[in-house]
Amino acid sequence: MDTGGLSLDQAPPIDIPARFFLTAPLFAIAAGLLLAWEGPTLLVSRWMPGALAATHLIAIGYLGSIMCGALLQMLPVVAGAPVPGVRLVGTATHLLLTVGAAGLAWGLGGGGPTLIWIGAGASALGFLVFVVPVAIALMRARGAPGTLLALRTAALALAVTVALGLLLVAVLQGWLRVAHHTPWVDSHVAWGLMGWVGLLVVGVAIQVLPMFYVTPAYPAPMRRWFAPAVLVGIGAASTAWIMGDELVGRAVIGGVALGFVGFALVTLSSISRRERPRMDPTLLHWWAAMLSLCCAALAWVFAAPPTLVGVLLLVGLGVGLPAGMLFKILPFLTWFHLQHRQLSSGRFDLRIPHMGSLLSIRWARIQFGLHLAALMLLAGSLWVPVLARPAGIALALSSILLLVLLIGVARTYRRGAVLLRPAPSRVEPQS
């Protein structure tokens, strides 16, 4: 009988996901400080060097890192599919994405073509090192078909995003020539934001919201058809753009955006029908992220400035939702791994702190408040430019608070891990 994937203890060592989670907030802090430093000019258009730098700090350094770390952790549990060579894959991906995000952002922000090239190369290599073993794990996976489908399509979208990004770098370097940049950039953005980020959020929501909050399951047609439809839609739209048919591309992407609005509304409705009563900080972030998603689609339909759509998706969804998920994931992993240490050390006299005492819900709520303030100031600054600097400061502050809270959890883990060292099998010295 095939026993592949049947071992039930496959969680990677805690330091693998934790390293992604602990460095990610640094990039959101950097994006906030960059905005505070440059002020309203950064938000004049999506082509501003500062805007490109902030976008990639958030998209690769923050969002990319957290998503990769969380997937390495999540795949064995939800799909019985451990990622082969997880320690090597995790270490290499983390290192390359960190260096890549910093280099690419610095280069795009004015550091010049060499830095862009190095940063993009490192990021692409980081995602490649990640996506190949994850694809192997996903092919072996069994379990919830809706989630798996969304995760598989998201991984595919990541590969396309990276390929298009590399192509754009080649164009920037003058190695390749294309008639117009814009359709290629738009395609890169659509594959990245709607394909990779969007479908990963869908996959996680389908799996995690009913599990975490005891909500009704997502409707079966949405679980089965949404992810492939999005993939086909983005593929059709980007082909239309590149062939020069702007109008068809816009219409198709409008359809995809409408689909995501439907997903957000279903999500908001299931959240309101959950059985677990508490509105915890994670749920607050889900709620704000789904509203941001709806607002982004509305803004796009009413031809608001593209920077508004970008701000709502990147900050409202991209910065907020992962922060909310980390409030649950890191304390849970800490508890889980300390438990295992307790079993192997036999120190049953020590009590493992429960999740409520690992991370302060009160401070997590304050973090959500700061995040919401940053989001509103950012959106407002597109009309009232003087708000841009305070928006940057609020973004940096909310991310600093996130980092401080996560470091607090990591320190508790360290202290517990020292106390719970496996008992050494040595003979007691005789007195």
């Binding site: 009988m1 026993t3 994937g5 049947l6 071992s7 039930l8 203890d9 549990v77 939800v78 799909a79 019985g80 069994r142 379990g143 919830a144 599990m211 975490f212 005891v214 059985e275 677990r276 009563p277 508490r278 915890d280 649950k328 849970f332 508890w335 889980f336 438990q339 079993l343 009590r351 429960h354 999740m355 409520g356 005492s357």
Partner: protein, 145 residues
Amino acid sequence: MTDSIATYMTDDHQRCDHLLAACERAVSGGDWNRLAAQTTDFSKALIGHFDMEEQILFPELVAVMPWASGPTGMMTMEHGQMRALVEQLDEAVHAQDADACLGILETLHLVTQQHNAKEEGILYPMAEESLGDQTPDILNRLQAG
């Protein structure tokens, strides 16, 4: 009544989820007597579920598939973790410590969910495949227990 072990056991997981949510609502309501009653209902259901698995389902599974003792051993160990959390919950309810109750319920909920995901995704389907003809008999014993 269902004729599938996986469905029967998954429904029982969901019954426990609903009972845990009811405990949380009782904490929010601030009625400690009601919470004590809810906690008793919940822990009876949860521990009863563990007993069904440890005393009936797992031994039957290992009898037809000896190598299953690895995965079932892991599941039994996780039952131990959850039993310990249920004891902590009882203490917190007696101490009338609402924050501790919510923190322990949250931990218990997440441990249960990842545990259930593994059972529902891997172990129960495996049991269905390998137990074959014995299914009706085992189901009867599970339902009687």
